[in-house]
């Protein structure tokens, strides 16, 4: 991370994106720019830092992130990277991710641009026809591994996963996969489009959250390969059937307690909101408040369509507004990210982390069961009996909260 210390310190190992590899990503490297670097430029420092790091850790490639200040003082990241690449013989890729240049979306694009430079730089002759890339999944709590296992059971070879448990060598060959499955968060959609344009490999949008979206996504992929492998549909149907069989009894148990309870959903991308609404339906719950930070006008129109009448749909709400909605609808559980968690708890409402800090996998069929378990645990927690706003309601219900594992 080329910049002052903070940008690197705050991003140091805060994502539960698991790796089966060297775990090098769990260290934090920064040029820690100081005042004199700001005045005289940080290029020499960056070069020295990169040389030292690459020598010590011998990575397959290095990504260099620029922060706001680097954009401003005019360091030529591209030139430094080229120089270091020449000296070390590995790709050194600048990610032009200055914060003031835009939102996360532009950051994703910057990362895709950097990654795309690796694509197409290795031999793909041994990649089978029945092959895919997993894009837009980050292997939070091992989720990519779950998806990968499903795909392999369908008879597919996964060439690269980006970026969850990703590998430089895989990325180099990723243009060899027949299909790119892009989870709709948009993070890697640009990369898929670049590959499609240059290498003619199509992509499809998928979502690994919730029963329907999960099954639909697998069927979609199976259909794509159906003419090459006539059996794949049958295998996929069998996979979905057996996975469902495994989780349905558990879901039914949770549903008994959760039937009629209400949820509020406030997440980053709208795609997640859609999946969550469907997931809550499976639990007999109603999503009474739903919103996202980055939704588009079409997203909101679609949300209005899929939710029940009376549902509050919010666009980029502040905490005070969220509080009002939660109270108005008297919701039982709030689904959000790190900054919403303490707000929910202050209100005496259950919480489910559906962001990068979740500790259990929520993707895949098994993820649906985990989700149900987490929602159940939080909603049914006996602690809510002690919350002023709820005390009465629980007493009236005459039923003690219970845990069911």
């Amino acid at each position: 991370m080329h910049g002052p210390v903070g940008c690197a310190a705050y991003t140091w190992d805060i994502r539960g994106a698991l790796s089966s590899g060297r775990e090098l990503h769990r260290l934090s490297f920064t040029t820690d720019l100081r005042e004199k670097d700001i005045i005289f430029g940080g290029e020499p420092k960056l070069e020295a830092a990169l040389m030292e790091l690459i020598e010590r850790h011998e990575p397959k490639a290095a990504f260099v992130y620029s922060t706001c200040i680097v954009g401003l003082i005019g360091d030529d990241l591209e030139a430094v990277c080229r120089k270091v690449a020449d000296k070390t013989g590995i790709p050194v890729l600048p990610v032009q991710s200055e914060g003031f240049k835009g939102s996360k979306r532009e950051g994703y694009l910057a990362a895709c641009n950097a990654m795309f430079r690796l694509v197409g730089t290795a031999d793909v002759s041994d990649i089978p026809e029945l092959s895919v890339n997993i894009f837009g999944d980050f292997n939070i709590a091992g989720e990519t591994w779950i998806i990968k296992e499903y795909l392999e059971r369908m008879g597919l070879t996964v060439v690269a996963s980006v970026t969850g448990d990703g590998r430089v060598d895989d990325l180099r060959r990723s243009h060899g996969a027949s299909l790119n499955m892009v989870q709709c968060s948009g993070a890697t959609l640009d990369l898929a489009k670049m590959i499609e344009e240059k290498y003619g490999k199509p992509h499809c949008r998928v979502s690994w959250l919730g029963i329907e979206d999960m099954a639909d996504s697998l069927y979609k992929v199976a259909e794509f390969f159906a003419d090459k492998d006539p059996e794949i549909m049958a295998r996929t149907t069998e996979l979905v059937r057996s996975e469902l069989e495994g989780i349905l009894p558990g879901l039914a148990r949770y549903r008994k307690d959760l039937e009629g309870k209400k949820a509020a959903v406030y997440v980053g991308g709208a795609f997640k909101a859609f999946s969550l609404i469907k997931s809550f339906r499976h639990l007999g719950m109603e999503v009474a408040v739903v919103g996202s930070q980055t939704g588009t006008a079409e997203d909101y129109a679609e949300l209005a369509e899929v939710t029940d009448p009376g549902t509050i749909i919010v666009d980029d709400a502040n905490p005070l507004e969220l509080q009002e909605f939660i109270k108005e609808k008297d919701v039982d559980v709030f689904v959000g990210g790190v900054k919403e968690r303490p707000i929910a708890f202050k209100l005496g409402v259950g919480f489910c982390d559906h962001n990068h800090e979740r500790k259990i996998p929520l993707e895949g069929f098994v993820g649906m069961l985990n989700f149900a378990k987490e929602v159940h645990a939080s909603v049914m927690s006996p602690v809510w009996n002690f919350v002023p706003r709820r005390e009465k309601r629980h007493r009236n219900a005459g039923k003690e909260c219970s845990h069911d594992r």
Partner: protein, 459 residues
């Protein structure tokens, strides 16, 4: 497989590269300090990303909602300056969230562009963006200078330089600037002062703001915090006690030279001796005596130290964190016959190293100390000279796991444990708690590792 197996034992000098930083940037300190003003909304003058990071990190440490606003710089602001963004933001914030005061700090970006907060705030007032009875203060917090501690200090200094007035009516109160300690520690300072019957103004004061109860309500501005009235009146105090040279001295010195409030800079009252000095100084300034109840607490701490000396004696400890805390902790350890062999702060400053060397000069060996160091260096030191105990923030957990050494979480940030919000480690009672934690760690380890023949029921 160990996580930090990437850390080699051989130490080579690094000039251009920091690995696993032991500090972070100024604005987060300014944000924490500002939360200790009643009804205050911290405002980050820069890009969105910075503000999001500071809020998330504070949220993870305190497990409380952290409210803060940002000027949300875009490409335009970074070329033409952020004045328009800030004026617009102030207007919105006062009308939507209705804080008493907005505390603005800069970021690397607005600093480099050269935005002048003082001038922008003056303009905001002239343009009527600050409603009657409301306030705005600003602190310049470039992250390429100092560390998060510097940012804290800068915001605290701005509290007095913006508000304090000497109106020639001594108010009989003592100002205490506690430095970057936990809300629970701030509460403890107030408890001790109350025991001694001294009327104090504590600032900043995050108790009641960041350790609140579950009330069924989310309140953006909870009860706690020093009020603007109190800050204004701090210029009339009979004295100021600054706890911690790095965190608090600048503000105290400002009051001394501008409002003629005499200041004393002390170490943070962690451990026996530093608490003694704190209590004694407060006693002298306020002209009171130390009550028996407090002497009793002191006696209990001395008692536990003596009872357990056989288990603390000669234990090697590595500590990291912020300068003011480390100085007091180092002294506490030495006073209990424990050996702080490695001491790292990310905050630069040679004075720190000199101070630590002074405190440890009677140890039977030379210790490792570094200001402006990082966790990677600390780990390398530990690989070369193993320790019995680690004391510091959560970032030490990788080392703890890799070296199989017990870790006591103390400092900022603590991202993976709770308790720091509620139980003080400051003062005599806090000293007891620190010692209890150390002993638990040491004795748990002993019970785990002792062979069966020497494993004992009574320790």
């Amino acid at each position: 497989m160990t996580l930090l197996r990437h850390t080699p034992k051989e130490i080579t000098e690094r000039k251009a590269l920091a690995i696993n930083p032991a500090k972070t940037c100024q604005p987060i300190g300014a944000m924490y300090a500002a939360l200790g003003i009643h009804g205050c909304l911290p405002h980050s003058h820069g890009s969105q990303g910075c503000c999001a990071y500071h809020r998330s990190t504070l949220t993870r440490h305190y497990k409380e909602p952290i409210s803060a606003a940002t000027s949300s710089f875009t490409e335009g602001a970074s070329v033409f300056g952020g004045q328009a963004n800030l004026l617009q933001a102030a207007n919105n914030i006062f009308s939507v969230y209705e804080p008493e005061v907005i505390a603005v700090h800069t970021t690397c970006l607005s600093e480099t562009i050269g935005d002048d907060l003082k001038q922008i705030i003056t303009k905001a007032r002239k343009d009527g963006k600050i409603p009657e009875g409301k306030e705005m203060l600003g602190a310049s917090t470039p992250s390429y200078v100092g560390s998060h501690v510097t940012g804290f200090s800068n915001m605290v200094k701005s509290m007095v330089s913006t508000f304090a007035k000497n109106t020639n009516e001594r108010n009989g109160k003592v100002n205490i600037i506690p430095g970057w300690v936990e809300p629970a520690d701030m509460e403890e300072v107030k408890r001790i002062a109350a025991m001694m019957g001294v009327d104090i103004t504590l600032f900043p004061d995050t108790s009641g703001v960041l350790n609140g109860p579950l009330s069924g309500e989310y309140r953006m501005f909870p009860e706690g915090g020093v009020t603007i009235e109190e800050l204004k009146d701090s210029g009339n105090a009979i004295g100021t006690m600054a706890l911690g040279e790095w965190c608090s001295a600048d503000a105290a010195r400002w009051l001394d030279s501008n409002c003629k409030v005499p200041c004393t800079v002390l170490d943070m009252p962690f451990g026996l001796k530093a608490t003694d000095r704190f209590v004694d100084t407060l006693r002298v300034i306020a002209g009171t005596s130390v009550p028996d109840s407090l002497a009793h607490e002191r006696g209990q701490l001395v008692d536990m130290i003596s009872d357990m000396h056989q288990y603390t004696f000669g234990k090697k400890v590595a500590i990291w964190g912020d300068p003011d805390q480390l100085i007091s902790m180092c002294e506490f350890l030495v006073s209990m016959d424990m050996w702080p062999v490695h001491v790292v702060t990310g905050t630069p400053g040679k004075r720190f190293e000199a101070r630590i060397r002074e405190i440890t000069k009677d140890l039977p060996f030379d210790i490792n100390v570094k200001a402006g160091g990082d966790m990677f260096l600390l780990h390398q030191w530990i690989k070369n000279e193993p320790v019995d105990l680690l004391i510091g923030n959560s970032y030490g957990k990788y080392i703890a796991r890799d070296e199989d050494t017990p870790l006591i979480r103390w400092g900022f940030p603590i991202l993976d444990r709770v308790g720091h919000q509620y139980f003080p480690t400051l003062g005599y009672k806090g000293g007891l708690r620190l010692l209890e934690k150390m002993l638990n760690a040491i004795l748990d380890r002993k019970d785990r590792d002792d062979p069966e023949e020497t494993f004992e029921l009574v320790l």
